[in-house]
Amino acid sequence: MDVQTWTFILVGISFTLYIGIAIYSRAGNTKDFYVAGSTVHPIANGMATGADWMSAASFISMAGIISFMGRDGAMYLMGWTGGYVLLALLLAPYLRKFGKFTVPDFVGDRYYSSTARMVAVVCAIFVSFTYVAGQMRGVGIVFSRFLEVDINLGVVIGMVIVFFYAVLGGMKGITYTQVAQYCVLIFAYLVPAIFISILMTGNVVPQIGFGSEIKGEEGVFLLDKLDALSQELGFSNYTEGSKSTIDLFFITMALMVGTAGLPHIIVRFYTVPNVSNARTSAAWALIFIAILYTTAPSVAAFARTNLLTTINNTEYAKVPAWFKNWQETGLIKFEDKNNDGRIQYYNDKSKNSEFIAETKKRGWRGNEVIIDRDIMVLANPEIANLPNWVVALVAAGGLAAALSTAAGLLLVISTSFAHDFVKRTIKPDISEKGELKCARIAAGFAIFIAGYFGINPPGFVAQVVAFAFGLAASSFFPAIVMGIFYKRMNKEGAISGMIVGIIFTAAYIIYFKFISPEANTSDNWLFGISPEGIGTLGMIINFVVALTVARFTPEPPVSVQNLVENIRVPRHMGDD
């Protein structure tokens, strides 16, 4: 059977499964809709968190990014996993004890202020929307590449599927479909990785494989060969870094703290029955995530080695079929600059003048290939000559990753609107039924807007991801941590901290990304920190401002101080 038939079959089966689960787990009341009735098993919640977290970007793009960055790619690996340690140790158990449904719930109640609640609502909605637009686009892209369906039709199909389980089942429907989606996406990621590892190193475990000797070349380690190949073509060594240490430090920190502050991840910990389950669940979540995240760097190294050995100086007429297949999609671009009928792939911007002189002597007139980073995962099975069903599996996995993340984000948007805005702010006497209806309408409306952005993507989607993490890092994380660990923190401190933190971070990102992108170089950055890492500084500013303001303003009321005491222990002590 050909790839397309396999793709239709696998995608069809997985979609039927998702819809089946959605019908089976309808939400009966608002507690079901917001937090799945707080009855989710910690392992199931761990899987759901994994699927919620790992988006189209993790699945499709991450290995490719690492492949081109080499060692520095670790900032994404560590940034997007290390945040779970913060989440498990500093936030999840306490927020679970607090109960209720959302992040703005906590911020509003802890800081006894509807202003604080509204700041949190606006942040939650903004962060979630920037994220969700990219997901819907991802769904469209997978559809168009693998099924030759128009991108826009792909987005609409994705919208219908998400609408089905998010609107019907709310958190309950989303949780159980995410469990299924995790299984699909992890299987789809591991199968090609294991195949390639066996082919290249004879080792079944990719994590060990990329540190092993190459099959058929006794005594040559894969990473050493990759370093040698990179040098030969003028690239910097794969296992060495090129980013400045301070920037690496700040970006990694911003990603970690941002991860711990993302509302769609935090709410997942409200869905388990109790505090100790929240802790266990965080461990499961990180284990499930680490399975993919530790595989990604090996996929990156294998793909890079394959690419460098197969492409450079190959006659175009003899190039493997995948090269031409992906050329048609525009993800590989080739231009024979020196008309020698061969492909030259090398670093023509190398600072090594000897190397450049050597390439000129050979008659090379510049790099002739532009390779999209997404190809490292999407085309990997074809590059390694894997069976058709494996290629199709990658499509189903990419869709699972994009849909599960989109659903989690849409739920945050609808909950923030129906619960934090309507119920807690403008119409407290709304009935249970009315609130549930309102949440469903908000979810439907959010899907519609997300779909619109998927079809008409704002040109800045990639840039705004830095926004989502920066804002989460500079607003939610400090406010929640101080809310738990510093009883004396009051509303004046928390609100001014959040506002100053957000404004600083947003202004820095907007300046370098939108107002004068041409100035976005390390010479102009504050302390050499790029816009991607500025959230860390925003967070520090937030802490400093909040602590200073709190010193000069009245302490929080006794009821709030009791609330803090209460969330610090899993269960009431004997006599109080």
Partner: protein
Amino acid sequence: MKESEIKRKAYWKANLITVSVLLSIWFFVSFGCSILFVDQLDNIRIGGFKLGFWMSQQGSMYVFVLLIITYIYLMNKLDKKYDVHED
């Protein structure tokens, strides 16, 4: 001060110590071994990996998982000791 108040303070203090120790390891492994001292560690080799490279792309993540598991173990023990565990 009531007895429960003293116990609660002691529980919280023990909790803070646990969290600080674990977060120091978290910081040391990720920002220390994988960013600040990565080049020095790269001089040590284990099989086909340079140690700094391995820490940043593999080791740190394994340590993160172990840290959370250790945290669960220590906190469950602490909860029992102070009789604040859920049934």
